[in-house]
Protein backbone atom coordinates (compact mmCIF):
# COMPACT_ATOMS: atom_id res chain seq x y z
CA UNK A 1 0.00 0.00 0.00
CA UNK A 2 1.43 3.37 -0.98
CA UNK A 3 1.71 5.94 1.80
CA UNK A 4 -0.82 8.21 0.09
CA UNK A 5 -3.54 5.55 0.11
CA UNK A 6 -3.27 4.96 3.80
CA UNK A 7 -5.06 8.14 4.93
CA UNK A 8 -7.87 7.43 2.47
CA UNK A 9 -8.31 3.88 3.75
CA UNK A 10 -8.18 5.13 7.33
CA UNK A 11 -10.71 7.83 6.51
CA UNK A 12 -13.07 5.26 4.98
CA UNK A 13 -12.79 3.11 8.10
CA UNK A 14 -13.43 6.12 10.33
CA UNK A 15 -16.24 7.53 8.19
CA UNK A 16 -19.20 5.80 9.91
CA UNK A 17 -17.85 6.92 13.29
CA UNK A 18 -17.33 10.48 12.07
CA UNK A 19 -20.86 10.61 10.64
CA UNK A 20 -22.19 9.23 13.92
CA UNK A 21 -20.27 11.73 16.00
CA UNK A 22 -21.44 14.52 13.71
CA UNK A 23 -25.07 13.48 14.02
CA UNK A 24 -24.77 13.07 17.80
CA UNK A 25 -23.18 16.50 18.11
CA UNK A 26 -25.97 18.04 16.02
CA UNK A 27 -28.72 16.24 17.94
CA UNK A 28 -27.15 17.16 21.28
CA UNK A 29 -27.03 20.85 20.44
CA UNK A 30 -30.47 21.32 18.93
CA UNK A 31 -29.42 21.37 15.28
CA UNK A 32 -31.02 18.06 14.18
CA UNK A 33 -33.72 15.72 15.42
CA UNK A 34 -37.07 16.15 17.11
CA UNK A 35 -37.66 19.59 18.57
CA UNK A 36 -34.49 21.02 17.00
CA UNK A 37 -34.77 24.79 17.40
CA UNK A 38 -31.34 26.07 16.53
CA UNK A 39 -27.96 25.79 18.22
CA UNK A 40 -28.13 25.65 21.99
CA UNK A 41 -25.97 24.14 24.70
CA UNK A 42 -28.90 23.93 27.13
CA UNK A 43 -29.24 20.12 27.02
CA UNK A 44 -25.47 19.63 27.19
CA UNK A 45 -25.26 21.83 30.28
CA UNK A 46 -28.24 20.20 31.94
CA UNK A 47 -26.98 16.64 31.32
CA UNK A 48 -23.46 17.45 32.46
CA UNK A 49 -24.93 19.05 35.57
CA UNK A 50 -26.69 15.86 36.66
CA UNK A 51 -25.21 13.90 39.54
CA UNK A 52 -26.75 10.71 38.11
CA UNK A 53 -24.69 11.10 34.95
CA UNK A 54 -21.39 11.47 36.81
CA UNK A 55 -22.19 8.60 39.15
CA UNK A 56 -22.92 6.50 36.07
CA UNK A 57 -19.71 7.58 34.37
CA UNK A 58 -17.70 6.80 37.51
CA UNK A 59 -19.35 3.38 37.82
CA UNK A 60 -18.73 2.57 34.16
CA UNK A 61 -15.08 3.69 34.32
CA UNK A 62 -14.22 1.78 37.49
CA UNK A 63 -15.98 -1.46 36.50
CA UNK A 64 -14.52 -1.34 32.98
CA UNK A 65 -11.04 -0.69 34.39
CA UNK A 66 -11.42 -3.52 36.93
CA UNK A 67 -12.69 -6.01 34.35
CA UNK A 68 -9.93 -5.06 31.91
CA UNK A 69 -7.27 -5.33 34.62
CA UNK A 70 -8.51 -8.77 35.70
CA UNK A 71 -8.67 -10.06 32.15
CA UNK A 72 -5.20 -8.68 31.37
CA UNK A 73 -3.70 -10.23 34.51
CA UNK A 74 -5.31 -13.56 33.62
CA UNK A 75 -4.05 -13.40 30.04
CA UNK A 76 -0.48 -12.59 31.14
CA UNK A 77 -0.58 -15.42 33.66
CA UNK A 78 -1.88 -17.99 31.18
CA UNK A 79 0.49 -16.88 28.43
CA UNK A 80 3.63 -16.94 30.58
CA UNK A 81 2.89 -20.04 32.67
CA UNK A 82 1.58 -22.26 29.85
CA UNK A 83 3.79 -21.18 26.99
CA UNK A 84 5.52 -24.52 26.38
CA UNK A 85 4.73 -27.18 23.81
CA UNK A 86 3.81 -29.88 26.34
CA UNK A 87 0.33 -31.37 26.10
CA UNK A 88 -0.72 -29.81 29.42
CA UNK A 89 0.32 -26.36 28.22
CA UNK A 90 -1.57 -26.71 24.96
CA UNK A 91 -4.67 -27.88 26.82
CA UNK A 92 -4.47 -24.95 29.25
CA UNK A 93 -4.17 -22.48 26.37
CA UNK A 94 -7.11 -24.03 24.55
CA UNK A 95 -9.26 -23.83 27.69
CA UNK A 96 -8.39 -20.16 28.21
CA UNK A 97 -9.54 -19.37 24.68
CA UNK A 98 -12.78 -21.34 24.98
CA UNK A 99 -15.03 -18.49 26.24
CA UNK A 100 -14.32 -16.75 22.92
CA UNK A 101 -17.14 -18.74 21.30
CA UNK A 102 -19.72 -17.57 23.87
CA UNK A 103 -21.61 -14.39 22.86
CA UNK A 104 -21.57 -11.61 25.46
CA UNK A 105 -25.31 -11.74 26.04
CA UNK A 106 -25.15 -15.50 26.64
CA UNK A 107 -22.20 -15.07 29.00
CA UNK A 108 -24.14 -12.56 31.08
CA UNK A 109 -27.29 -14.70 31.06
CA UNK A 110 -25.33 -17.79 32.11
CA UNK A 111 -23.82 -15.73 34.91
CA UNK A 112 -27.30 -14.83 36.17
CA UNK A 113 -28.39 -18.48 36.02
CA UNK A 114 -25.32 -19.62 37.93
CA UNK A 115 -24.78 -16.89 40.50
CA UNK A 116 -28.12 -15.06 40.78
CA UNK A 117 -29.92 -15.04 44.13
CA UNK A 118 -32.11 -17.88 42.84
CA UNK A 119 -29.47 -19.33 40.54
CA UNK A 120 -27.74 -22.68 40.39
CA UNK A 121 -25.37 -21.90 43.25
CA UNK A 122 -28.20 -20.83 45.56
CA UNK A 123 -30.18 -23.93 44.63
CA UNK A 124 -27.22 -26.19 45.32
CA UNK A 125 -26.69 -24.56 48.73
CA UNK A 126 -30.40 -24.89 49.44
CA UNK A 127 -30.32 -28.57 48.41
CA UNK A 128 -27.41 -29.07 50.80
CA UNK A 129 -29.75 -28.14 53.64
CA UNK A 130 -29.17 -24.40 54.13
CA UNK A 131 -32.58 -22.82 54.72
CA UNK A 132 -31.66 -19.24 53.80
CA UNK A 133 -29.67 -20.05 50.66
CA UNK A 134 -30.66 -16.75 49.01
CA UNK A 135 -29.20 -14.86 51.95
CA UNK A 136 -25.96 -16.86 51.86
CA UNK A 137 -25.18 -16.29 48.17
CA UNK A 138 -23.40 -12.96 47.68
CA UNK A 139 -25.40 -10.41 45.72
CA UNK A 140 -23.75 -10.44 42.30
CA UNK A 141 -26.68 -9.48 40.08
CA UNK A 142 -27.77 -5.79 40.09
CA UNK A 143 -25.11 -5.22 42.75
CA UNK A 144 -24.01 -1.58 43.21
CA UNK A 145 -20.31 -2.51 43.25
CA UNK A 146 -20.74 -4.36 39.97
CA UNK A 147 -18.67 -7.35 41.09
CA UNK A 148 -20.81 -9.74 39.04
CA UNK A 149 -20.53 -7.46 36.00
CA UNK A 150 -16.74 -7.24 36.42
CA UNK A 151 -16.31 -11.00 36.81
CA UNK A 152 -18.56 -11.87 33.87
CA UNK A 153 -16.83 -9.45 31.50
CA UNK A 154 -13.32 -10.31 32.72
CA UNK A 155 -14.10 -13.97 32.00
CA UNK A 156 -15.49 -13.05 28.61
CA UNK A 157 -12.52 -10.85 27.62
CA UNK A 158 -9.86 -13.24 28.92
CA UNK A 159 -9.68 -15.37 25.72
CA UNK A 160 -9.27 -12.35 23.45
CA UNK A 161 -6.35 -10.97 25.46
CA UNK A 162 -4.90 -14.48 25.94
CA UNK A 163 -4.84 -15.11 22.19
CA UNK A 164 -3.11 -11.79 21.72
CA UNK A 165 -0.59 -12.60 24.49
CA UNK A 166 0.17 -16.05 22.96
CA UNK A 167 0.89 -14.56 19.58
CA UNK A 168 2.96 -11.65 20.98
CA UNK A 169 5.12 -14.03 23.00
CA UNK A 170 5.54 -16.68 20.32
CA UNK A 171 6.49 -14.26 17.56
CA UNK A 172 8.72 -11.86 19.45
CA UNK A 173 9.65 -13.66 22.67
CA UNK A 174 11.95 -16.66 22.21
CA UNK A 175 14.74 -15.02 20.25
CA UNK A 176 15.14 -12.00 22.54
CA UNK A 177 14.82 -14.14 25.66
CA UNK A 178 17.51 -16.50 24.34
CA UNK A 179 19.78 -13.53 23.69
CA UNK A 180 19.21 -12.22 27.22
CA UNK A 181 19.96 -15.62 28.71
CA UNK A 182 23.15 -15.98 26.68
CA UNK A 183 24.20 -12.61 28.03
CA UNK A 184 23.87 -13.99 31.55
CA UNK A 185 20.39 -12.86 32.66
CA UNK A 186 18.64 -15.13 35.18
CA UNK A 187 14.96 -16.12 34.89
CA UNK A 188 13.70 -13.15 36.85
CA UNK A 189 15.73 -10.71 34.83
CA UNK A 190 14.57 -12.27 31.56
CA UNK A 191 10.96 -11.83 32.61
CA UNK A 192 11.41 -8.34 33.97
CA UNK A 193 13.55 -6.96 31.17
CA UNK A 194 12.44 -8.94 28.14
CA UNK A 195 9.22 -10.96 28.45
CA UNK A 196 7.15 -8.39 30.34
CA UNK A 197 8.05 -5.35 28.16
CA UNK A 198 7.30 -7.35 25.00
CA UNK A 199 4.02 -8.54 26.49
CA UNK A 200 2.61 -5.28 27.70
CA UNK A 201 3.53 -3.35 24.58
CA UNK A 202 1.98 -6.02 22.41
CA UNK A 203 -1.07 -6.27 24.65
CA UNK A 204 -1.75 -2.55 25.10
CA UNK A 205 -3.84 -2.01 21.94
CA UNK A 206 -5.94 -5.04 22.91
CA UNK A 207 -6.28 -3.77 26.47
CA UNK A 208 -7.51 -0.39 25.23
CA UNK A 209 -9.99 -2.12 22.91
CA UNK A 210 -11.28 -4.30 25.77
CA UNK A 211 -11.65 -1.27 28.05
CA UNK A 212 -13.59 0.68 25.43
CA UNK A 213 -15.77 -2.34 24.70
CA UNK A 214 -16.57 -3.08 28.35
CA UNK A 215 -17.31 0.59 29.06
CA UNK A 216 -19.81 0.55 26.19
CA UNK A 217 -21.31 -2.87 26.91
CA UNK A 218 -25.10 -2.74 27.02
CA UNK A 219 -26.03 -6.43 26.98
CA UNK A 220 -24.07 -7.43 30.08
CA UNK A 221 -25.03 -4.21 31.87
CA UNK A 222 -28.78 -4.66 31.36
CA UNK A 223 -28.59 -8.13 32.92
CA UNK A 224 -26.05 -7.53 35.68
CA UNK A 225 -25.54 -3.82 36.41
CA UNK A 226 -27.30 -2.15 39.39
CA UNK A 227 -30.35 0.11 39.19
CA UNK A 228 -28.26 2.87 40.77
CA UNK A 229 -25.69 4.08 39.77
CA UNK A 230 -26.96 3.69 36.21
CA UNK A 231 -24.22 2.43 33.89
CA UNK A 232 -23.51 4.93 31.10
CA UNK A 233 -24.79 2.69 28.24
CA UNK A 234 -28.02 1.99 30.16
CA UNK A 235 -28.52 5.66 30.95
CA UNK A 236 -27.99 6.53 27.28
CA UNK A 237 -30.61 4.03 26.13
CA UNK A 238 -32.99 5.10 28.92
CA UNK A 239 -32.89 8.70 27.68
CA UNK A 240 -33.14 7.63 24.04
CA UNK A 241 -36.36 5.73 24.82
CA UNK A 242 -37.77 8.15 27.40
CA UNK A 243 -41.54 8.61 27.12
CA UNK A 244 -40.85 12.35 26.94
CA UNK A 245 -39.64 13.11 23.39
CA UNK A 246 -37.81 16.22 24.59
CA UNK A 247 -35.24 13.98 26.29
CA UNK A 248 -33.94 12.45 23.04
CA UNK A 249 -31.22 15.13 22.93
CA UNK A 250 -29.92 13.96 26.35
CA UNK A 251 -29.11 10.58 24.85
CA UNK A 252 -26.89 12.18 22.23
CA UNK A 253 -25.05 14.21 24.87
CA UNK A 254 -24.40 10.91 26.68
CA UNK A 255 -23.24 9.28 23.44
CA UNK A 256 -20.67 12.06 23.11
CA UNK A 257 -19.58 11.50 26.73
CA UNK A 258 -19.09 7.78 25.96
CA UNK A 259 -17.14 8.49 22.80
CA UNK A 260 -15.04 11.01 24.75
CA UNK A 261 -14.11 8.34 27.32
CA UNK A 262 -13.09 5.88 24.60
CA UNK A 263 -11.12 8.62 22.84
CA UNK A 264 -9.22 9.35 26.06
CA UNK A 265 -8.30 5.66 26.34
CA UNK A 266 -7.01 5.65 22.76
CA UNK A 267 -5.08 8.88 23.39
CA UNK A 268 -3.42 7.36 26.46
CA UNK A 269 -2.38 4.41 24.32
CA UNK A 270 -0.96 6.65 21.61
CA UNK A 271 0.94 8.64 24.20
CA UNK A 272 2.43 5.48 25.75
CA UNK A 273 3.44 4.17 22.34
CA UNK A 274 5.03 7.46 21.32
CA UNK A 275 7.00 7.42 24.57
CA UNK A 276 8.50 3.99 24.11
CA UNK A 277 9.09 4.52 20.41
CA UNK A 278 11.12 7.58 21.36
CA UNK A 279 13.03 5.43 23.85
CA UNK A 280 13.79 2.82 21.25
CA UNK A 281 14.28 5.19 18.40
Amino acid sequence: MSPRRIPIAALLAALPTLVGVGYAAGAATGLIGFGAAGFSLRRVASVLGELTVWRGVAWTLTTAAAATLLATAGAVLVATVFRGTARGDRAARALAVLPLVVPHLVAAAVFVFLFGQSGFLARAIHAAGVADAQGVVPTLVYDPLGIGFILALAWKELPFLSLLAFSVLSTRGPELEETARSLGADRRDVFRRVTWPILWRGLLPGVVAVFAFVAGSYEAAILLAPSEPVALPLLTWERYTDPDLARRADAFVLVLVGIGLAAIAVAVHEWARARWERFEG
Partner: protein
Protein backbone atom coordinates in the same frame (compact mmCIF):
# COMPACT_ATOMS: atom_id res chain seq x y z
CA UNK B 1 -44.53 -4.76 16.81
CA UNK B 2 -43.22 -6.01 20.16
CA UNK B 3 -41.99 -9.57 19.56
CA UNK B 4 -41.30 -10.52 23.16
CA UNK B 5 -44.14 -12.98 23.68
CA UNK B 6 -44.14 -16.34 21.83
CA UNK B 7 -47.96 -16.63 22.09
CA UNK B 8 -48.49 -13.28 20.38
CA UNK B 9 -45.92 -14.10 17.72
CA UNK B 10 -47.59 -17.46 17.07
CA UNK B 11 -50.98 -15.75 16.68
CA UNK B 12 -49.64 -13.15 14.25
CA UNK B 13 -47.29 -15.38 12.23
CA UNK B 14 -49.21 -18.65 12.39
CA UNK B 15 -52.86 -17.59 12.35
CA UNK B 16 -53.21 -14.04 10.99
CA UNK B 17 -50.51 -14.09 8.29
CA UNK B 18 -51.65 -17.23 6.39
CA UNK B 19 -55.28 -15.99 6.31
CA UNK B 20 -54.25 -12.58 4.99
CA UNK B 21 -52.21 -14.26 2.28
CA UNK B 22 -54.98 -16.67 1.29
CA UNK B 23 -57.84 -14.13 1.33
CA UNK B 24 -56.23 -10.87 0.33
CA UNK B 25 -52.88 -11.84 -1.16
CA UNK B 26 -51.15 -9.77 1.51
CA UNK B 27 -47.84 -10.94 2.88
CA UNK B 28 -47.59 -9.89 6.50
CA UNK B 29 -44.06 -9.63 7.80
CA UNK B 30 -43.91 -8.79 11.49
CA UNK B 31 -40.74 -7.09 12.67
CA UNK B 32 -39.44 -6.17 16.11
CA UNK B 33 -39.94 -2.69 17.51
CA UNK B 34 -41.97 -1.20 20.32
CA UNK B 35 -42.94 2.13 21.82
CA UNK B 36 -40.02 4.58 21.81
CA UNK B 37 -38.10 2.47 19.28
CA UNK B 38 -40.91 2.97 16.77
CA UNK B 39 -40.97 6.69 17.48
CA UNK B 40 -37.19 6.91 17.02
CA UNK B 41 -37.31 4.86 13.82
CA UNK B 42 -39.95 7.13 12.29
CA UNK B 43 -38.18 10.29 13.44
CA UNK B 44 -34.94 9.11 11.82
CA UNK B 45 -36.75 8.08 8.63
CA UNK B 46 -38.26 11.52 8.39
CA UNK B 47 -34.93 13.24 9.09
CA UNK B 48 -33.36 11.13 6.36
CA UNK B 49 -36.36 11.66 4.06
CA UNK B 50 -36.33 7.89 3.65
CA UNK B 51 -39.13 5.65 2.45
CA UNK B 52 -41.03 4.20 5.38
CA UNK B 53 -40.09 0.74 6.59
CA UNK B 54 -43.44 -0.09 8.25
CA UNK B 55 -47.04 -0.05 7.05
CA UNK B 56 -48.76 -0.85 10.31
CA UNK B 57 -47.50 -0.32 13.85
CA UNK B 58 -48.72 -1.68 17.17
CA UNK B 59 -48.81 1.14 19.72
CA UNK B 60 -50.26 2.24 23.03
CA UNK B 61 -51.36 5.63 24.32
CA UNK B 62 -47.89 6.75 25.29
CA UNK B 63 -46.50 6.11 21.82
CA UNK B 64 -49.65 7.50 20.20
CA UNK B 65 -49.09 10.74 22.09
CA UNK B 66 -45.46 10.95 20.89
CA UNK B 67 -46.36 10.09 17.30
CA UNK B 68 -49.18 12.62 17.15
CA UNK B 69 -47.00 15.26 18.80
CA UNK B 70 -44.35 14.69 16.13
CA UNK B 71 -46.97 14.35 13.36
CA UNK B 72 -45.77 10.94 12.32
CA UNK B 73 -49.14 9.23 11.88
CA UNK B 74 -51.21 8.85 8.74
CA UNK B 75 -54.92 9.55 9.05
CA UNK B 76 -57.69 9.79 9.79
CA UNK B 77 -58.55 6.31 8.54
CA UNK B 78 -59.70 4.07 11.39
CA UNK B 79 -63.41 4.97 11.32
CA UNK B 80 -63.61 3.96 7.66
CA UNK B 81 -62.90 0.28 8.38
CA UNK B 82 -65.99 -1.89 7.72
CA UNK B 83 -65.54 -3.85 10.96
CA UNK B 84 -65.64 -0.67 13.03
CA UNK B 85 -69.42 -1.22 13.43
CA UNK B 86 -68.68 -4.01 15.92
CA UNK B 87 -66.34 -1.94 18.09
CA UNK B 88 -67.52 -1.11 21.58
CA UNK B 89 -67.88 2.63 21.05
CA UNK B 90 -69.33 3.15 24.54
CA UNK B 91 -66.21 1.96 26.36
CA UNK B 92 -64.23 5.01 27.49
CA UNK B 93 -61.05 2.93 27.53
CA UNK B 94 -61.39 2.26 23.79
CA UNK B 95 -62.54 5.59 22.38
CA UNK B 96 -60.06 7.65 24.31
CA UNK B 97 -56.43 6.65 24.54
CA UNK B 98 -54.69 8.18 27.58
CA UNK B 99 -57.46 10.83 27.46
CA UNK B 100 -56.59 11.68 23.88
CA UNK B 101 -59.27 11.33 21.21
CA UNK B 102 -58.09 8.68 18.79
CA UNK B 103 -59.66 10.81 16.03
CA UNK B 104 -59.34 8.04 13.48
CA UNK B 105 -55.53 7.99 13.67
CA UNK B 106 -55.43 4.56 15.29
CA UNK B 107 -57.68 1.52 15.35
CA UNK B 108 -58.22 -0.48 18.56
CA UNK B 109 -56.78 -3.99 18.61
CA UNK B 110 -57.13 -5.25 22.18
CA UNK B 111 -58.29 -4.23 25.64
CA UNK B 112 -56.37 -5.12 28.76
CA UNK B 113 -56.34 -4.44 32.46
CA UNK B 114 -53.52 -4.26 34.98
CA UNK B 115 -53.34 -7.06 37.51
CA UNK B 116 -50.93 -8.16 40.18
CA UNK B 117 -49.82 -11.78 39.93
CA UNK B 118 -49.42 -13.98 43.01
CA UNK B 119 -48.99 -17.68 43.77
CA UNK B 120 -52.11 -18.97 45.51
CA UNK B 121 -50.07 -21.71 47.17
CA UNK B 122 -47.64 -19.22 48.68
CA UNK B 123 -50.29 -16.63 49.60
CA UNK B 124 -53.70 -18.22 50.12
CA UNK B 125 -55.27 -14.88 51.15
CA UNK B 126 -53.66 -12.09 49.15
CA UNK B 127 -54.05 -8.38 50.02
CA UNK B 128 -57.04 -6.78 48.31
CA UNK B 129 -56.30 -3.06 48.53
CA UNK B 130 -53.30 -0.75 48.33
CA UNK B 131 -53.43 -0.33 52.14
CA UNK B 132 -53.50 -4.09 52.67
CA UNK B 133 -50.66 -4.48 50.19
CA UNK B 134 -48.57 -2.02 52.25
CA UNK B 135 -49.25 -4.04 55.40
CA UNK B 136 -48.37 -7.25 53.60
CA UNK B 137 -45.08 -5.79 52.33
CA UNK B 138 -44.10 -4.65 55.84
CA UNK B 139 -44.91 -8.08 57.24
CA UNK B 140 -42.89 -9.84 54.51
CA UNK B 141 -39.70 -7.82 53.99
CA UNK B 142 -37.80 -8.38 50.75
CA UNK B 143 -40.68 -10.10 48.94
CA UNK B 144 -42.13 -7.28 46.81
CA UNK B 145 -40.82 -5.03 44.05
CA UNK B 146 -41.93 -3.54 40.75
CA UNK B 147 -40.11 -3.23 37.45
CA UNK B 148 -38.68 -0.07 35.84
CA UNK B 149 -40.56 -0.46 32.57
CA UNK B 150 -44.05 0.34 31.34
CA UNK B 151 -45.76 -2.11 33.72
CA UNK B 152 -43.94 -0.62 36.71
CA UNK B 153 -45.08 2.89 35.76
CA UNK B 154 -48.65 1.57 35.45
CA UNK B 155 -48.30 0.29 39.03
CA UNK B 156 -47.13 3.77 40.13
CA UNK B 157 -50.19 5.23 38.43
CA UNK B 158 -52.45 2.85 40.34
CA UNK B 159 -50.82 4.10 43.56
CA UNK B 160 -51.32 7.67 42.36
CA UNK B 161 -55.07 7.10 41.91
CA UNK B 162 -55.49 5.06 45.10
CA UNK B 163 -53.61 7.44 47.40
CA UNK B 164 -55.38 10.54 46.06
CA UNK B 165 -59.06 9.72 46.07
CA UNK B 166 -59.30 7.98 42.73
CA UNK B 167 -58.74 8.61 39.05
CA UNK B 168 -61.19 11.56 39.03
CA UNK B 169 -58.58 13.74 40.75
CA UNK B 170 -56.37 13.53 37.67
CA UNK B 171 -58.89 13.55 34.86
CA UNK B 172 -59.33 16.42 32.44
CA UNK B 173 -55.77 16.97 31.27
CA UNK B 174 -52.45 17.34 33.02
CA UNK B 175 -52.35 19.63 36.02
CA UNK B 176 -48.93 20.40 37.48
CA UNK B 177 -50.03 21.20 41.03
CA UNK B 178 -52.31 18.17 41.25
CA UNK B 179 -49.52 16.02 39.93
CA UNK B 180 -47.06 17.39 42.50
CA UNK B 181 -49.38 16.90 45.46
CA UNK B 182 -50.47 13.49 44.22
CA UNK B 183 -47.04 12.17 43.36
CA UNK B 184 -45.64 13.29 46.75
CA UNK B 185 -47.95 10.73 48.33
CA UNK B 186 -46.70 8.03 45.96
CA UNK B 187 -43.06 8.79 46.83
CA UNK B 188 -43.90 8.89 50.53
CA UNK B 189 -45.65 5.51 50.25
CA UNK B 190 -42.66 3.97 48.47
CA UNK B 191 -40.14 5.64 50.79
CA UNK B 192 -41.87 4.34 53.91
CA UNK B 193 -41.89 0.83 52.46
CA UNK B 194 -38.39 0.98 50.99
CA UNK B 195 -36.64 -1.07 53.71
CA UNK B 196 -39.23 -3.82 53.22
CA UNK B 197 -38.92 -3.92 49.42
CA UNK B 198 -36.80 -6.46 47.55
CA UNK B 199 -33.10 -5.65 48.08
CA UNK B 200 -34.18 -2.91 50.48
CA UNK B 201 -35.37 -0.86 47.52
CA UNK B 202 -31.82 -0.46 46.22
CA UNK B 203 -32.40 -2.40 42.99
CA UNK B 204 -35.37 -2.85 40.67
CA UNK B 205 -35.73 -5.31 37.77
CA UNK B 206 -35.27 -3.48 34.45
CA UNK B 207 -38.40 -4.89 32.85
CA UNK B 208 -41.44 -7.00 33.62
CA UNK B 209 -39.79 -10.13 32.13
CA UNK B 210 -37.10 -9.95 34.83
CA UNK B 211 -39.82 -9.43 37.46
CA UNK B 212 -41.57 -12.59 36.20
CA UNK B 213 -38.27 -14.45 36.57
CA UNK B 214 -37.81 -13.22 40.17
CA UNK B 215 -41.39 -14.26 40.93
CA UNK B 216 -41.05 -17.70 39.31
CA UNK B 217 -37.75 -18.26 41.14
CA UNK B 218 -39.36 -17.30 44.47
CA UNK B 219 -37.15 -14.28 45.03
CA UNK B 220 -40.33 -12.21 45.33
CA UNK B 221 -43.98 -13.15 45.92
CA UNK B 222 -45.66 -10.81 43.41
CA UNK B 223 -45.31 -10.05 39.77
CA UNK B 224 -47.57 -7.81 37.68
CA UNK B 225 -48.88 -7.54 34.18
CA UNK B 226 -50.63 -5.05 31.94
CA UNK B 227 -52.82 -7.94 30.73
CA UNK B 228 -55.02 -9.57 33.36
CA UNK B 229 -54.91 -12.83 31.39
CA UNK B 230 -51.15 -13.02 30.90
CA UNK B 231 -50.96 -15.17 34.00
CA UNK B 232 -53.11 -17.82 32.26
CA UNK B 233 -50.90 -18.03 29.16
CA UNK B 234 -47.65 -17.85 31.15
CA UNK B 235 -48.76 -20.68 33.45
CA UNK B 236 -49.63 -22.78 30.41
CA UNK B 237 -46.18 -22.10 28.94
CA UNK B 238 -44.60 -23.15 32.24
CA UNK B 239 -43.01 -19.74 32.79
CA UNK B 240 -45.00 -18.98 35.95
CA UNK B 241 -45.81 -21.45 38.78
CA UNK B 242 -49.00 -23.51 38.20
CA UNK B 243 -50.98 -21.91 41.05
CA UNK B 244 -50.32 -18.31 39.89
CA UNK B 245 -53.41 -16.08 39.81
CA UNK B 246 -54.27 -12.55 38.75
CA UNK B 247 -55.26 -10.12 41.47
CA UNK B 248 -57.20 -6.87 41.09
CA UNK B 249 -56.75 -4.30 43.84
CA UNK B 250 -60.16 -2.98 44.87
CA UNK B 251 -58.91 0.62 44.82
CA UNK B 252 -59.06 0.24 41.06
CA UNK B 253 -56.62 -0.91 38.40
CA UNK B 254 -55.68 0.63 35.08
CA UNK B 255 -57.57 -0.54 32.04
CA UNK B 256 -56.46 0.54 28.62
CA UNK B 257 -56.43 -0.49 25.01
CA UNK B 258 -53.69 -1.06 22.55
CA UNK B 259 -54.02 0.09 18.99
CA UNK B 260 -52.77 -0.09 15.43
CA UNK B 261 -51.50 2.98 13.63
CA UNK B 262 -50.25 3.70 10.14
CA UNK B 263 -47.05 5.75 9.86
CA UNK B 264 -47.27 8.92 7.76
CA UNK B 265 -44.54 7.52 5.52
CA UNK B 266 -46.05 4.02 5.16
CA UNK B 267 -45.37 2.65 1.66
CA UNK B 268 -48.72 0.82 1.56
CA UNK B 269 -51.43 2.39 3.75
CA UNK B 270 -54.25 0.67 1.84
CA UNK B 271 -52.79 -2.75 2.60
CA UNK B 272 -52.34 -1.72 6.22
CA UNK B 273 -56.04 -0.86 6.44
CA UNK B 274 -57.02 -4.27 5.09
CA UNK B 275 -54.86 -5.88 7.77
CA UNK B 276 -56.23 -3.62 10.52
CA UNK B 277 -59.78 -4.43 9.39
CA UNK B 278 -59.09 -8.17 9.49
CA UNK B 279 -57.56 -7.83 12.97
CA UNK B 280 -60.81 -6.15 14.05
CA UNK B 281 -63.02 -8.92 12.62
CA UNK B 282 -65.01 -11.07 15.08
CA UNK B 283 -63.09 -14.10 13.82
CA UNK B 284 -59.64 -12.63 14.56
CA UNK B 285 -60.73 -11.02 17.85
CA UNK B 286 -62.24 -14.29 19.10
CA UNK B 287 -59.13 -16.27 18.23
CA UNK B 288 -56.98 -13.69 20.05
CA UNK B 289 -59.23 -13.90 23.12
CA UNK B 290 -58.70 -17.66 23.56
CA UNK B 291 -56.53 -18.42 26.58
CA UNK B 292 -54.53 -20.98 24.61
CA UNK B 293 -53.78 -18.35 21.94
CA UNK B 294 -53.08 -14.95 23.52
CA UNK B 295 -55.90 -14.23 26.01
CA UNK B 296 -56.00 -10.61 24.88
CA UNK B 297 -59.28 -8.80 25.58
CA UNK B 298 -61.62 -8.09 22.67
CA UNK B 299 -62.48 -4.52 21.70
CA UNK B 300 -65.81 -5.55 20.17
CA UNK B 301 -69.22 -5.06 21.80
CA UNK B 302 -70.77 -8.51 21.94
CA UNK B 303 -74.32 -7.14 21.56
CA UNK B 304 -73.38 -5.57 18.24
CA UNK B 305 -72.17 -8.83 16.75
CA UNK B 306 -74.22 -11.17 14.55
CA UNK B 307 -75.93 -13.66 16.92
CA UNK B 308 -73.76 -16.67 15.94
CA UNK B 309 -70.61 -14.72 16.85
CA UNK B 310 -72.13 -13.35 20.07
CA UNK B 311 -72.70 -16.86 21.43
CA UNK B 312 -69.17 -17.89 20.60
CA UNK B 313 -67.80 -14.84 22.40
CA UNK B 314 -69.91 -15.62 25.47
CA UNK B 315 -68.43 -19.09 25.66
CA UNK B 316 -64.84 -17.93 25.40
CA UNK B 317 -63.98 -16.98 29.00
CA UNK B 318 -60.76 -18.61 30.11
CA UNK B 319 -60.50 -20.99 33.02
CA UNK B 320 -58.50 -19.33 35.81
CA UNK B 321 -59.19 -15.92 34.30
CA UNK B 322 -60.96 -13.11 36.11
CA UNK B 323 -64.67 -12.62 35.44
CA UNK B 324 -65.58 -9.73 33.18
CA UNK B 325 -67.86 -8.32 35.90
CA UNK B 326 -65.10 -7.88 38.45
CA UNK B 327 -62.80 -6.58 35.72
CA UNK B 328 -65.27 -3.88 34.75
CA UNK B 329 -65.96 -3.00 38.40
CA UNK B 330 -62.33 -2.15 39.17
CA UNK B 331 -61.34 -0.78 35.76
CA UNK B 332 -59.99 2.79 35.79
CA UNK B 333 -59.07 4.69 32.64
CA UNK B 334 -55.69 6.13 31.80
CA UNK B 335 -55.12 9.86 32.39
CA UNK B 336 -53.18 12.35 30.27
CA UNK B 337 -49.84 10.97 29.02
CA UNK B 338 -47.88 13.66 30.89
CA UNK B 339 -48.73 11.85 34.15
CA UNK B 340 -47.05 8.74 32.79
CA UNK B 341 -44.00 10.69 31.58
CA UNK B 342 -43.55 12.56 34.83
CA UNK B 343 -44.06 9.51 37.07
CA UNK B 344 -41.43 7.62 35.06
CA UNK B 345 -38.90 10.48 35.18
CA UNK B 346 -39.51 11.50 38.80
CA UNK B 347 -39.42 7.90 40.06
CA UNK B 348 -35.86 7.71 38.72
CA UNK B 349 -34.70 10.82 40.55
CA UNK B 350 -36.82 10.53 43.70
CA UNK B 351 -36.86 6.80 44.39
CA UNK B 352 -34.21 5.02 42.35
CA UNK B 353 -31.41 7.54 42.90
CA UNK B 354 -32.10 7.66 46.62
CA UNK B 355 -32.04 3.94 47.04
CA UNK B 356 -28.40 3.05 47.52
Amino acid sequence: MWRGDPSINAYVDGWIAPRLLARHGITLRAVEGQGPEIVNQLLVERDARARGSADLIWINGETFHNLREAQLLYGPWAQRLPNVVYVDSTAPTIQRDFEQPTAGYESPWGAVQFALIYDSLRIPRPPGTVAELARWIRAHPGRFTHDQGFTGVAFLKILLYALNGGVETFQGGFDESRYRRGSERVWAWLDSLRPALWRGGSAYPPGVAELHRLFANREVDFSMSMNQNEVVTKVRQGILPPASRALLLRDGTIANSHYLGIPANAPNPAGAMVVANFLLSPEAQLEKLKPEVWADGSVLAVERLPPEWATRFHGATAAGALSSDSLAKYARPEVAPEYHERLAADWRTRIRAGGS
